[in-house]
Symmetry: C3
Subunit: 397 residues, 3 copies
Amino acid sequence: MKDIKKLIGSLSALEFSKMYNNDFLLTWEKTDQEVAAVLKVAEILREMREQNISSKIFDSGLGISLFRDNSTRTRFSFSSACNLLGLEIQDLDEGKSQVAHGETVRETANMISFMADVIGIRDDMYIGKGNTYMREVSKSVVEGNKDGVLEQRPTLVNLQCDIDHPTQSMSDLAHLVEEFGGIENLKGKKIAMTWAYSPSYGKPLSVPQGIIGLLTRFGADVVLAHPEGYEVMPEVEAIARRNAQESGGSFVKTDRMAVAFKDADIVYPKSWAPFKSMEKRTELYGNRDFDGIDRLEKELLAQNANHKDWECTEELMSTTKNGKALYMHCLPADITGVSCKEGEVVASVFDRYRVATYKEASYKPYIIAAMIFLSKVKNPGTTFGKLLENKKSRHFE
Amino acid sequence: MKDIKKLIGSLSALEFSKMYNNDFLLTWEKTDQEVAAVLKVAEILREMREQNISSKIFDSGLGISLFRDNSTRTRFSFSSACNLLGLEIQDLDEGKSQVAHGETVRETANMISFMADVIGIRDDMYIGKGNTYMREVSKSVVEGNKDGVLEQRPTLVNLQCDIDHPTQSMSDLAHLVEEFGGIENLKGKKIAMTWAYSPSYGKPLSVPQGIIGLLTRFGADVVLAHPEGYEVMPEVEAIARRNAQESGGSFVKTDRMAVAFKDADIVYPKSWAPFKSMEKRTELYGNRDFDGIDRLEKELLAQNANHKDWECTEELMSTTKNGKALYMHCLPADITGVSCKEGEVVASVFDRYRVATYKEASYKPYIIAAMIFLSKVKNPGTTFGKLLENKKSRHFE
Amino acid sequence: MKDIKKLIGSLSALEFSKMYNNDFLLTWEKTDQEVAAVLKVAEILREMREQNISSKIFDSGLGISLFRDNSTRTRFSFSSACNLLGLEIQDLDEGKSQVAHGETVRETANMISFMADVIGIRDDMYIGKGNTYMREVSKSVVEGNKDGVLEQRPTLVNLQCDIDHPTQSMSDLAHLVEEFGGIENLKGKKIAMTWAYSPSYGKPLSVPQGIIGLLTRFGADVVLAHPEGYEVMPEVEAIARRNAQESGGSFVKTDRMAVAFKDADIVYPKSWAPFKSMEKRTELYGNRDFDGIDRLEKELLAQNANHKDWECTEELMSTTKNGKALYMHCLPADITGVSCKEGEVVASVFDRYRVATYKEASYKPYIIAAMIFLSKVKNPGTTFGKLLENKKSRHFE
């Protein structure tokens, strides 16, 4: 049992006032202290729940979710986060409404937001689209609030876009902080973010991009490994490079998985689609060239099949630091012989780290709740203090 | 910031005791004082929310929604209203259940209502069906309550039927009260409810019907304009006529948009389907004659296309009172060159009133909450007084 | 108005400590006192609600529902139960996620459960599958809780499986207790659970199985009647036989409806599918032999049609005890001339008992809430005492 008052104390030492009444779209738009504040608030919220203390700050209010891609983990994490703070989930099911691009984004954003305190969006399928859409929604509700249409400004939380997956990368970071005993202990660690083979294609780039965009900030040596043709967005690589420089770490690229794994402290082997093909897919989609998309998908699967040797094996794991690198995955993983014939990771490696990956995922509801909390509460320290004083039970017996 | 106690005071001057434990199906079934009470309660609830005071009157309980037509605005408004008062939304998705007409309406209505405090229904597609269905549901749960099956009587709120759209027309009225500084100021105003061209067909008649059925009650001069063949239900016209007579206003019809706009204080240009065709469609649907429906739809689109000149233009707007009539719309509008090639309104007019139409929509959650509140609370003045005393924050900081 | 304190007193006399932090999967896994405790807690919760006293024990938390078959009644009952206790419903829609068998059951179960206090599952379509799946989910979250992945252990509630339908049979029991003035009055009563004709096929066996598995425990004479070929699972018959022996009642089978109805105090005529065919169907499904399934369905309908005389008629009813047996049904019933041409029951019989069957259904939300309550509250008597003291209104006026 952690001392919550102590945690609140260390939160108060941080500067994060600009997060108030603001969105969370990309981790690299946030300062180091803001990132630290999210981790700290998430830790406090988790500890409060474990100590059965309510952290409900809303008596009523809606949390709107908009998923443009199937989702279980993130959907439930967002629901859990909203519920923890007292917001009721209202899903915007585009099949049951008529949301289109253009004029109506502004309109729909306002129409659903009269009593919305937060909007969470996943829109990760098309390069150049998802993040842009989120900003359009955000701009619309900020305007709506200014114009007197909305009584409050709904906070936008990026639940995965084409560029970043901040609730994932921040959960991964929370997991690392716990595993390594502090964010400062990431300094000098070797982190391998590597592509891995999967029988599917077209997985979003936002996970590797989110990882290199965030984990390069703490003095670690981050290696990005992938076969030729599986490049990520150059803009995000540039951010990773700048981060590494500023933090005293490094960011290097390699086209050999073995190089990335060698002496790594942390490995994150995961499939993703090639950026250029995703760009092409977005273009084809824009032209409604569905035959073209079919052809492209077949090409991509064939291209993928050339790289079946990109698999996280016991052999590779044995080359990591003391043979004991921390294996990470955002889940679900493609596990060879379990969820597919040939996949990202062999079963024995995954099994050894299964519980660890579940714990890695368990931070997400708290990370999302922390993002909302920091946007909705002006003086988190004071508010936490009052909640502790109230000592309302989360589960009354 | 309005003085809530003063608002409560003026509410107490009104007689609305019959709204307790009752439904809200048609505005013309309610007295003027009852209509005024809904507006007042909506105003109080909005002000309470703006002053961050909780108006939660339910600790648990469900608000059931049943949408037989796609909906974003009304769905979110109903969810917001229920949430504001403390009810959790449970959507009755007929695709996931098996609700049919006949014996099972009574049964289903009871089966979903064991802990339901309110049921909101949208059923606007077929003439003669929607309102009838709502009454059947209401009768079923009233009986269920009497028979000891249900511990409470769920309130039925009409979220749009074939005859009326009371949550829309009441929101429109709230908007007018705000814009014109009081319901009494509608006296002598000219209100033009006019048909307008849209590339779609078959939009419900409940909006124009709701408007002429409600706005004729306050001494205004209401004009209903539409091309030949786009008549609305004669029963509702009769109500409008009677209302106008009783209120000292007028209700006239014209087949020229220009006549309606001339010197108007308020214009509401909006597409709807011809009543007779909708009746025919209901009949074809009853016979399951889907080819017939297809043919009818083509005819209707062709008929529509003859009236592309029914468009709310700058020219028409300039003929209104001082060229500054208030433009209204229930949204989404078909905006020429924006959401369609040729539509109900030109972009420059819509743009000038865009924020106003958003505000018009913003009353709906409060109007719905007020309808529920007045049905669920015996002495609203007293209950509001207690809520003010409790002073529980909606958003705790 | 019942005396709640008295009810709490009689609850305290029962031994049910093993229900704490446990699942509810099959009634025959529970002792008589545990079954009695569920009834008592349901009665207390219902009485509290009727006396407008909140029984909310959760300030936040999710109730996860997973329906692998269409549902209205049970869905709304589960939602109502969760809402009554303070849990927000989050539906796991497998169409919107990717839940499969194998490794991923464990993973998904954990991923959705970070803030889940209860998981309700309906999975009744395939013999040998549903209950097994529930146990797999339960085992996964118990492990997750032990491993530190989940902060709490979600309770699993069986909302209908291939073997039992405990929330239905327990509601039926609550209804009988009310109708006959006490569980002890079931001693010596004749209960006829009989097959009846329906134009559909393939209705789950879990209702008749649930009934014979539960109602044989109280000294009643239970008769199971069905045409040849409509056997239920032999394991459940064995349980019914053992129950009857232990309770001093009897369990007999007959292939004649009239024999079952003769002098019966309670009749439960209802269609179900033949067990052997359901087994075959599960096998065909496993082989993805959809043509085979089509053929089987046609065979089953033809087989069904041979037994149209299995109908609950006035004539049959007149042979029951004083011609006044209590007619029961889990609803919806196939009513001859109302919901189908030829069905399970004639309209006049159903009509006479319609309100009674609605009341029978009305216990389900409270039964489910009681199952959750007993798993989540260590000392129900004490907790109920505190709730009474708090005297928070369910509906504040």
